[in-house]
């Protein structure tokens, strides 16, 4: 067994160890290299930037915990952008396990121990303001602060449950639910996940069906996002933005070029680009998990390329391309 053969037959657990080290060490020595946002991600950012309190969007958690490392930062970024601009958001989920991912994202953005959080005002807490018949966003906030509520120092803004957010959650056969929402959102979701009737919510008064929605951001771990195009975009022209795992991202460039989606966040890089845009434009003081993750990704990618090159050198230098069979355990 020559050296090349020995190298190619190395116990794969050594390679496992190498990749593990390559993903741990950079956390302690960050490179801090800049990430430039691509046109695909800026398409989504600009679209949301053009919206305000009179519009409404959907942020759909169409993934499960398996791909949360990629998908969750995208959804969190889109939600943050919407909360900061007081854009009403319907939160839905294509899969049952996605509903709790949505809960975790809302929880993260409203966590009072974190910088730049949003102070969550529960439905019952601002009942008196609704009773006064105040419906516009600025009026609600004004009345709320007039009641003696002040925004905590670390907080970026208020999120009024039922006006700024309606957490609708999961329903089975979600592609048909999308279709149903083209007629009426309340017919599909009579209540939010806590049981509050949708028809009583201020968000619903101006946004009764998908026809009244200005963007659906779907963060998907599989092909669920395509259902939003098929049943939302093609049925009523609903603008769609994709947040997809890197594995799927290359397949969906066709939808960007065809104009069926306004943009796409592809994998952790896409999420990091959105985080950069949020920070650069003052929506967040720091970066999120995706940006930090991309810093670590640098070394891992270099290692993988190194392994590919090394494997090929050993393969050709060892003459295995001339049909010399590799011996030993692989």
């Amino acid at each position: 067994m020559n050296i090349w053969e020995k190298m190619l037959n190395v116990d794969r657990r050594w390679i496992f160890l190498l990749i593990g080290i390559a993903c741990v060490v950079p956390f302690f020595n960050p490179l801090g290299l800049p990430i430039l946002p691509s046109a695909e991600v800026m398409g989504i950012y600009d679209h949301i930037e053009g919206l305000g309190p009179d519009n409404a969007i959907i942020v759909s958690f169409d993934f499960e915990p398996g791909t949360a490392a990629e998908n969750q930062p995208m959804s969190v970024a889109a939600l943050r952008h919407a909360f900061a601009r007081n854009i009403p958001v319907y939160v839905t989920s294509y899969w049952p396990l996605g509903q709790a991912m949505a809960a975790m994202a809302i929880s993260e953005l409203t966590d009072e121990s974190l910088e730049d959080y949003f102070k969550y005002v529960e439905w019952e807490d601002w009942a008196s303001i609704r009773d006064q018949g105040i419906v516009d966003r600025a009026g609600i906030e004004e009345a709320w602060t007039a009641e003696g509520n002040t925004l905590p120092e670390n907080a970026r803004g208020w999120v009024f449950e039922g006006r700024d957010i309606a957490f609708l959650g999961y329903l089975p056969y979600f592609h048909l639910v999308i279709l149903g929402m083209t007629s009426s959102i309340a017919s599909q979701f009579p209540t939010d996940v806590s049981g509050t009737p949708l028809e009583e919510m201020p968000i619903y008064q101006d946004h009764k069906s998908l026809r009244d929605i200005d963007l659906a951001v779907t963060s998907a771990g599989g092909s669920a996002c395509v259902s939003w195009i098929t049943y939302g975009r093609e049925k009523i022209g609903l603008p769609i933005a994709f947040g997809v795992t890197a594995v799927m991202a290359t397949d969906y460039y066709i939808f960007i070029q065809s104009g069926q989606i306004v943009g796409q966040m592809g994998g952790l890089r896409g999420a990091a680009e959105y985080e950069v845009l949020l920070k650069e434009n003052g929506y967040n003081k720091g970066y999120g998990k995706a940006f930090i993750g991309m810093d670590v990704q640098n070394i891992a990618h270099l290692l993988i390329i190194f392994l590919v090159v090394l494997g090929n050198i050993a393969f050709f230098a060892g003459g295995f391309h001339k049909k010399t069979k590799l011996k030993g355990r692989r």
């Binding site: 956390f27 396990l97 329903l171 089975p172 592609h175 395509v226 890197a246 104009g259 990704q297 993988i304």
Partner: protein, 211 residues
């Protein structure tokens, strides 16, 4: 306290599953089984509280107008259970037929629009316009010819010979390989991202040695 216990349980499972990289072991097997039970159990709970209760039981019990009509989907749905009784198992085809037939009918024109017509339309673009950067012009040519060539490659009703089918399919496979290369590159990024996510949990949420 619960949160701390939770973090330790989560960390134990994370490390337990990574121990599989060294050798298959009971902790991995336990995790593998638990994940199925928990996810389906969660699914049952969510389906009950999100669908059965608000969309079926509540309207019927509160006597909403026309709520009795909901008995139709409820009975249809219940027919699924007959699947477990050999004599009447065929009844479970009725709810399947209800969902599938109409679902495909609704979906057919929309899928055709989304995945065929719009894609064909998007391939018919001007390759050059004044002011277009040269890389975009080359790109457009590559994209349009690439689509055509790759379609020829997948067309198996004619032998891949001659200028059109022969050369076309050869160009097609080259374009497809570039596409697969891009997918591989992205797949690497995706897989590493998931690993980074877990390391962020272990080093950050659990051990608090990184931010």
């Amino acid at each position: 306290m619960t949160e701390t216990i939770g973090l330790w349980v989560a960390a134990l499972f994370t490390i337990g599953i990574y121990s599989f990289l060294y050798k298959e072991n009971p902790l991995y097997r336990l995790a593998e089984h638990l994940v199925i039970g928990v996810s389906l159990g969660y699914n049952i709970a969510i389906t009950y509280t999100n669908v059965i209760q608000p969309k079926l039981l509540d309207p019927i019990s509160s006597g909403e107008q026309g709520a009795w009509l909901l008995l139709v989907p409820a009975i249809l749905g219940l027919l699924y259970i007959t699947r477990f009784f050999p004599g009447v198992g065929w009844l479970s085809r009725y709810p399947m037929a209800f969902l599938m037939g109409a679902g495909m009918g609704v979906g057919f024109p929309l899928s055709m629009k989304a995945q065929v017509l719009r894609q064909l339309e998007a391939s018919l673009i001007p390759l050059y316009e004044t002011g277009m950067a040269w890389d975009v012009v080359i790109g457009n040519v590559v994209m349009v010819l690439g689509t055509l060539a790759a379609l020829i490659y997948f067309f198996f009703s004619k032998p891949h010979k001659g200028l059109f089918f022969g050369t076309g399919s050869k160009i097609g496979i080259w374009v497809i390989m570039i596409g697969f290369g891009a997918t591989f590159g992205f797949t690497v990024m995706g897989r590493i991202s998931l690993l980074i996510g877990r390391i962020q949990f272990l080093l950050g949420d659990w051990l608090h040695i990184i931010e």
